[in-house]
Amino acid sequence: MRRTVTTAVVMLACASVVLAAGVKKYGKDLTLKETTKISAIYAAPDSFNGKRVKVQGPIVQVCEMKGCWIALASDQEFQTIRFKVEDGVIVFPMTAKGLTATVEGVVSVETESVEQQLEHGKKMEKEMNKPFDPKTVKGPKTVIMIKGEAAEIQDAAGR
């Protein structure tokens, strides 16, 4: 009995080390070989609109309510891009912040009206538990995001 328990503990410990050191897959497999720079999408959003891309960057935000999106930092400062998945298809862990993610999906470029931004801001306020100031909405805004179903997070321990 004691030997069985010891073996189980050792196996669990080994599994955690393997998981901790590896790459964790979320959703479908990544298929694209070429990685696009996030800054390149921002430089020419219209040419990427509707196109499938694979991008990489550190995770700087995770949806607190459902884990249904992450924001990746761009290769240029002050720039992020949101990677959105259908609710429940992938649940990103809150503890993934700061880890590097590679994601694949279709670029979406949309113009958000003032009303849409106000509605979105209120939704984000609830999701992220952070105050939203409606005064920050000045006019229509172009929103660039990647809608996808495949991601890999490096060095994720799974929790």
Binding site: P58, V60, E77, V91, M94, G98, L99, R159
Partner: protein
Amino acid sequence: MNWRRLNNVLHRDIGYLAVGLSIVYGVSGVAVNHKADWNPSYRMTKTARQIEPIEASDREAIIREALEKLGIDEAPRNAFRPNPETLQIFFRQATYSIDLPSGAVVIEGARPRPVLFEFNQLHLNTPKRLWTVVADAYAIALIVLAVTGMFVLKGRTGITGRGAWLTAIGVLLPGLYWVYYLWR
């Protein structure tokens, strides 16, 4: 073996098999039902701190100075500047957001809740793949338990007596609620 004995054996043994999963799904179900009021999987914390304003202007120097003023030796996972005045430093257990000109720091933490995190992951089928098969099998097992459960006893307390009324109430409950939900 007559059909009732087979029914009861199935009900008993599938019931035993379903105990563990029923507890996982039940506990997580209650936790997730109230996610508008709390985060059922993570214990979220937010604390404030004050350090001296950051004077450096180069990105790497800013990070070095911030870590020094915070008194942190641990190597961060990453750092990011969402705007020229803010630096975010990411660690395994916390994210530090520093307002560079004022030195105001907000520390946000997200720790998985012991046991509940794992229960919720399974309940919400986060692992997908093999767990989808287990979850489907459990769902089928619940249907089998419900059906066989109706025929465990015979007589006054069975499905032809009190059981019929209680079963009818259980079937009507979701139907009546749905009508109320649509017409309210």
